[in-house]
Symmetry: D2
Subunit: 271 residues, 4 copies
């Protein structure tokens, strides 16, 4: 006996660039969008009956058609309109739109340079007529050259790491925060981002964990409408190079940046 | 007011290659391991008190030390020993070890070629003294040149996709299955893999969804110890090239393989 | 004063999948093709005059149209036909087609699994009416657990590496070989590949350099039509983990596989 | 008969982060360095004799030791010192150091955010006692929403692309420029970068080729010390979405950004 106990389907990585040509100078929005649906689609799976299976190609077309009419001033609002539309389709109990926004910096009236790395994210979910909205960012790589320690941790038979009161701390910030019901002031995400960055920079850190926690508190303080924030900070280890074989002393100056392995610190801070 | 409502930390991407030199000919195991812990670590975050914060560097060392003693005949068993050890550390309520195994094919007594793409996965979790074990695979890219249709789906104002009774179906299989309590016969994963592949190949498909479902049923049939399986099948669209401008007919022969966007079909099938 | 002293343009990453449906069972060829042209295109650059600028979109269309008629039994022959066509276009002094072939393994009459990692390459160049053909492979990752040494190298004030008579040797083989005029027996590439692999596996290595050289000699021996072969072997270091802090001895059993930095050894061997 | 007709070896992807702690506030340099040597190393390959084979591990150590003493104010100067050192080693006829610099933006006295994407490059080569120096950049992604046309190109039986007088032009700039003998004013690279960007932005483009050429001329004009510049501009096609099936007109507003295939335009402009 086998039973279908959960299902989800949709279209992923829909690449959308909108030029707001009515603006002077032109403005652009650059998005990668994922649409997904859950619901009463069992017959598609179990009987090969596609009568209620909205094609993922149709989802893609819908995104482009909606983008024509929508100014996309805030991705969260655009995603909300899509989610509202999809949630009314036959069989749908949950509709979700996730968007990653790729920022561009203006060079000139009609020209832009892409900011690499960092992306803005937005996720809008409508489940059983209730909509929830989250914003976030990912790929924001930061480093501090001092004011970071890690000491006083337990030592067992497998511990070799020495205590340190001064190390490089480097990470790639991923954060997602949920808004309370009815929140629409999505421009606030810049204040949240600034709070995360400023706190990372200024904090005298006893651990990545402690820094993460104060960053989360600062984000909540920066925007009343946030109910909780989840942060992930991979610890991108910068190891001190041993120069002693060459008769040189390494006074926290020369490091090798490593990618593997990395510490991964995650937490949720709620109001 | 801000409160720490969830936390997790650990070491990720610990790269471990073990050569079983006592075997004749030599055997190798190639793993990428992630360790993570959840529990009563609030003071690390809120007070910068590291007294119970097992260093992630220590986790890494522990993996290597355990690998010396363990034959690693099955990754699931090796991960279970690690999880048992970590779950007894102070403060820990949940310990998890995830491993990706990179398969190598023997060339010669002491030489191997890496099979690209496909990886085996294992996840062992111990929460409140209860251990659960999952196996899986990812990156298994398959394609069928016929016996795949998609028709009879709903048509709305945004639908342009024509019905088709014959298309290429290509996907990259990701699957994870959970075993029932006490299951230890991890060599069965080959039978599960074979069931997934054979079913993909032989099924006359009305949709990716339908194929996914029969693949899941076949996996459950192939191994009594599995309680459920979750499968994700991205639909890697192969689009028919329009050769008509050149006076040529394209009888399902010439395709452009695309990466973006892609359909994403997911489901869980339970016994 | 500024002068255009060299130019090249073309279309890259044209993804082409051909299904040979007349074959029973079906066969597939999966290619990524780059087309490039050099020649008297100065006015395109210096005057914005596109009269002789064959559009790269047209190059792409040409690839698909030629793929309809061509069986693509050997990529080298298909690329030769394209190169011959493009070299007759106005202004062209050099036409080149590079193809990467992504191998698939048959599962079933109409189903295939993609071999990950390794790719076959072919480059055909026509310059001033002379055509040259090269074949190759890349991404063939191999490892040997013994029969690899590195000792007797010079020691200066920056040398810390100890001599070793037994280490893991791992690499990702990239090789390209040129055929003599008129060579058409492209199926020989399998024999070249086998020679590279067998030699890597069986050689008692004093260095990556020495292994590379014997691999190159074996390739020339395996196919009379090859005039030279260029091989690149990145040394993917597998470092012995120091288990002594845990009271354990590491007898070449436990390694950490690293990606950065890596040695890079390259050479050309000619007949 | 087989003969070794060319060889090169070295260490690649040496990751180096230097903190200039004597500076107030701290400054950082983040580099990925490749070292390679050519010369009379035949016996290493043909006889397994390592007596003159400077270990690539020693090359890595040398980079770190030199980084201790060197302020690395300009990567070109640091690479020159390394190249001078390596070129004096036994057997070396050519020594090359290539560096990619990963830029960071200051957030705070001791904190930085990594600029994603764009990297600065430098290549210093010493061959037979003659040193040549090149600087460059890569991964600088730019886009213009108008002032880009492509029309008047030849039409053959495979041409389907319509003429356009207004399209999106997007590319990722890679450029490398060579300095004349004795040039040391490496801070000029900012002026070269600005010239490339300003020209891309302001140019009314008839083709990627024409824009590339004026960018190259502007770079030469911005820095007297440059003798030539090579530029590669992949054309990252932004395709107009056909909204007509939905009764909507797409007035150059809604685009799909594609990655494959892409045009690739390259040229060298010399003084």
């Amino acid at each position: 006996m086998a039973e279908l106990t959960w299902n989800r389907y949709g279209k992923s990585s829909v690449r959308l660039v909108k030029v707001r040509r009515s603006a002077d100078p032109h403005e652009i929005v650059d998005l990668t969008i994922d649409v997904s649906l859950e619901g009463a689609f069992d017959k598609v799976y179990t009987e090969g009956d596609n009568a209620e299976c909205l094609a993922t190609d149709t989802m893609k077309n819908t995104v482009y058609a909606f983008a024509k009419a929508d100014p996309i001033d805030h991705v969260e609002a655009f995603a909300s309109r899509l989610v509202e539309y999809f949630s009314e389709k036959a069989g749908v109990s949950l509709a979700r739109v996730h968007a990653a926004e790729h920022p561009w910096r203006r060079l000139h009236a009609h020209a832009f340079a892409r900011e690499g790395g960092e992306e803005w994210t937005a996720t809008v979910t409508c489940q059983d007529d209730k909509t929830s909205i989250a914003s976030g960012l990912r790929g924001l790589v930061v480093l501090k050259t001092t004011d970071s320690a890690f000491s006083g941790f337990p030592r067992d038979q497998y511990t070799t790491l020495p205590d340190t009161r001064d190390r490089i701390l480097a990470t790639s910030i991923t954060a997602t925060w949920n808004y309370g019901d009815g929140f629409q002031d999505f421009g606030k995400r810049s204040a949240v981002r600034a709070a995360l960055l400023d706190t990372f920079a200024a904090h005298k850190s006893e651990s990545v964990q402690q820094t993460l926690y104060v960053m989360g508190k600062a984000a909540l303080a920066a925007c009343d409408g946030i109910v909780d924030i989840q942060i992930a900070l991979p610890n991108r280890h910068h190891l001190l190079v041993d120069l002693s074989p060459f008769g040189l002393e390494n006074l926290n100056e020369i490091f090798v940046a490593t990618e593997q392995p990395y510490g991964l610190i995650e937490a949720r801070i709620s109001r």
